[in-house]
Amino acid sequence: MTTIAPAAPARRDVSPARHWRWTQPGLLLTGGALVLLIDPGPFDLRVITLVVAYAVAATGFNVLVGFAGIVSIGNSVFLAAGGYAWALLATSYGPLVALLAGVVLAAVIAALAGVLLLRLRAYYFAVATLALGTLGTVVVRNWTAVTNGDAGITNVGYIKVFGLSGVPSIFVAAVVLLALVSFLQEALRTSPVGQAMIIGRYDPPAAEGIGVSVAYTRVVAFVLSAVTAALGGALIAQLAGGAFPDQFATTSAISLLVIPIIAGRGWRWAPLVGAAIVIALPEYLRFLAEYRLVVYGAAVVLVALFLPGGVHQVVRAVAERLGRSRG
């Protein structure tokens, strides 16, 4: 314990720096413009849009898992809230109302569930959220008066931006939303609220000792994960042309969970990188036919085994190597 510090003069400011906040949104918007310029085929653009939609949804989850250190397996219910709110309201009340309604609905559910469930210890909370997600599916399937049951709601329209139409329009909207939530994610991380979340995960007694309410930060993180999930859910519904129960089943909650973990919890690029792996990879493995999921599963297990820090670990190692060869 007494000799942790190296004797040699250590480097300055090695800790995760405060990135310039506009870098990431700027890169995202530029990247989005490039994709439109290259103009991939309809299939590829659809896949890329789905990746961005899941990245939006997973940004809040990245905050939940990476900052507050909580695992939820029920966030599909928030995807469904966003998706169904869009399906029900977009055509009659316009996109802004539909998006906001989904966000508010998801936030209210998350706040109530969070206050009730977050007093449970880690594993029990995860199990309870699984129940929450399942409950959401049950409600969506059976509340036919509103959700139209298993048949789902079709003809839900999509958001039209910059005079575009079809999938490119949804793509641009998704990229803009991702840029926005990425900016907020980074602003949150360096703000007192985000820092309170991080110390609350790392050391709850110490956090309480400096005046942080760990329970409060956890509920806040859970609500934030619901908010971006609702945004992502609305995008997913638009891309699919409707809201269906299967879209928002437990599988999607697991995807949300795997995305930040496989890419590196709390890393600011984790939502996009993780979504690319979790959403796009299975699509491009279709040539493997039935073996697709086997290969995908093996890839995920390998990452879990050898890269506990996710893709971020590789990125950091490479950056360090580069930094050393330069310096």
């Binding site: 942790i4 995760p16 703000s191 007192p192 609220v193 985000g194 309170a196």
Partner: protein
């Protein structure tokens, strides 16, 4: 009762708490006024840390009241959670530094800056004004770091700082929080002399600025220097309280707590060295049990220890001493294979260099780390059995258990109790006992008496001497020179990762100790750069 105490006084009355059958704190009254330092001493298990937890709110009291006086009014805090008390300006320093290891020192300090709810949220939204607020926070953090002499290290990851520096960072976090009442749990434990001076200076300064301080500490020299009043606890009760010297002179206190071991604390090097118990064989019989040649131990690419060589024969004891950051614990970890090391390490003439840690343990090496590792949910005997099962099983369980019982009968008496119910000293005994269950031939110990009451030091010294008498070679890292002198045959003094003195214990006198701890540093960058 007329309350004529000054505003800002923290008053605890009749505080009690029990954990199961154990009453940890039993009806304690305590008062901490502004600008006053109240020292709390007592043997391990006396309830000092628990009392601190009751005042900070980390543990809710079963009975009693906690109030913060505010002029004519008062704030009742009995039911208030720790975070509420923290917002009332009651800050605590944990015994081990509690920092986010990936964050820089500055970021860790910034956590202490209180930001009101709405302002914090504006910043979380990334609004333009947040930049100014963040800059102000960073500046406050840097100023606080400057006060603890760590401003050059503001950008370093806190995990890269030494233990002493981490504690200073935590103190800086308390500084920016503008705490009015400071609860310190052994702030000097495990610190080098220079770091101790910085911490002591800071505590004195805060006290003079009007902060009320509760100082739980074993080191009586610090208590004498800093405390205005002293509270002596024993078995959860206040044994004596009053002015420091008077209370220390209280015959009851002397009898129950200090006895004549106070000499052990500073090492009392002016006294002639007590003859160290000699090894079983007077001359070195046969080859060394543990032989280390040109050991270099690395943290990443950095060699934290360089050019260390020593032999320890069966029945001998080697004490590794030196200021914080000298590389003492690092040597042990290098020998145990827990850190990358180069050079030769041989155990009973078998090279260990290429072996993984568990294989080294299988060859007869044992390592007792400074952090206590017992499984708290298991009983003492189950803990020992677990270690026996995972060890060589060279001896039968009963034999191994007897060996532990001979050294630490106190632990075996509680064999059917949960390990979590043991006191700090007993847990340390259990930790050593666990290492012995594997029938090792060489035992490495990292600060066995860190954080223990001085009264326990002779018990551990005696146990180590008896362990050596059974033919086991012992290497011990220790700050308490009393223990080293009583339990070791040889001493290796280190500075900044390099050996500076090596010889038999009898020759390790005051002059040598002065040289090792305060002498000119070898020409390498020093790890502890704390300025007062």
């Amino acid at each position: 009762m007329a309350e004529r105490r000054p505003a800002g006084t923290l008053v605890g009355r009749g505080l009690s708490v029990s954990f199961g059958p154990l009453t940890a704190v039993d009806g304690v009254d305590i008062e901490i006024g502004p600008g006053e330092c109240v020292g709390v001493i007592g043997p391990n298990g006396a309830g000092k840390s628990t009392l601190l937890n009751l005042l900070s709110g980390a543990v809710p009291a079963d009975r009693g009241s906690v109030r913060l006086l505010r002029g004519s009014t008062e704030v009742r805090l009995d039911r208030a959670a720790a975070r509420v008390r923290a917002r009332h300006g009651i800050a605590r320093l944990f015994q081990t530094a509690r920092l986010v290891p990936d964050w820089s020192a500055r970021e860790n300090v910034e956590l202490g800056v209180r930001t009101a709810g709405p302002a914090a949220w504006l910043e979380a939204l990334g609004l333009p004004t947040s930049k100014r607020r963040a800059a102000r926070r960073a500046r406050a953090a840097e100023e606080a770091l400057a006060r603890v002499g760590l401003v050059e290290r503001a950008g370093f990851r806190s995990a890269e700082l030494s233990l002493g520096q981490q504690r200073l960072v935590e103190l800086a976090r308390i500084l920016v929080a503008d705490a009015r009442i400071l609860l310190l749990d052994e702030p000097f434990a495990g610190l080098s002399r220079s770091a101790r001076e910085v911490v002591a200076g800071l505590v004195a300064q805060l006290r003079d600025e009007g902060v009320g301080i509760l100082l739980v500490e074993h080191d009586l020299s610090q208590i004498r220097k800093l405390a205005d009043r002293l509270v002596v606890m024993d078995h959860g009760r206040v044994l004596a309280a009053g002015p420091v010297e008077e209370t220390l002179a209280d015959p009851e206190v002397v009898k129950r707590y200090i006895g004549d071991v106070e000499l052990e604390i500073g090492g009392a090097l002016e006294e002639p060295a007590a003859p160290a118990p000699q090894p079983v064989a007077e001359q070195r019989s046969g080859p060394p049990m543990l032989q280390v040649r040109d050991l270099r131990v690395f943290y990443g690419p950095v060699a934290a220890v360089d050019g260390v060589s020593f032999d320890v024969a069966a029945g001998e004891g080697l004490g590794l001493v030196g200021p914080n950051g000298a590389g003492k614990s690092t040597i042990l970890r290098g020998v145990a294979g827990l850190l990358r090391a180069s050079g030769d390490v041989e155990l009973a003439e078998q090279p260990l260099g290429s072996l993984a840690t568990p294989d080294r343990y299988r060859r007869g090496l044992a390592f007792v780390p400074q952090t206590l590792t017992a499984v708290v949910d298991l009983t003492v005997e189950e803990n020992l059995r677990l270690s026996w099962l995972t060890g060589t099983r060279a001896d039968r369980f009963a034999e191994a258990l007897d060996r532990v019982g001979e050294l630490f009968p106190e632990v075996l008496d509680r064999r059917s109790e949960q390990a979590g119910a043991l006191s700090g000293g007993q847990r340390q005994m259990l930790a050593i006992g666990r290492a012995l269950m594997a029938s090792p031939r060489t035992v490495l110990l990292d600060e066995p008496t860190a954080g223990l009451a001085p009264g326990l030091v002779p018990i551990f010294a005696d146990a180590l001497a008896r362990l050596r008498a059974t033919g086991v070679a012992v290497v011990v890292v220790e700050h308490n020179l009393g223990l080293v002198r009583a339990a070791c045959t040889h001493v290796l003094g280190l500075q900044a990762g390099r050996p500076v003195w090596h010889g038999p214990t009898e020759r390790f006198d005051a002059a040598v100790a002065h040289e090792v701890f305060l002498g000119a540093q070898p020409d390498t960058t020093q790890e502890e750069q704390v300025h007062s």
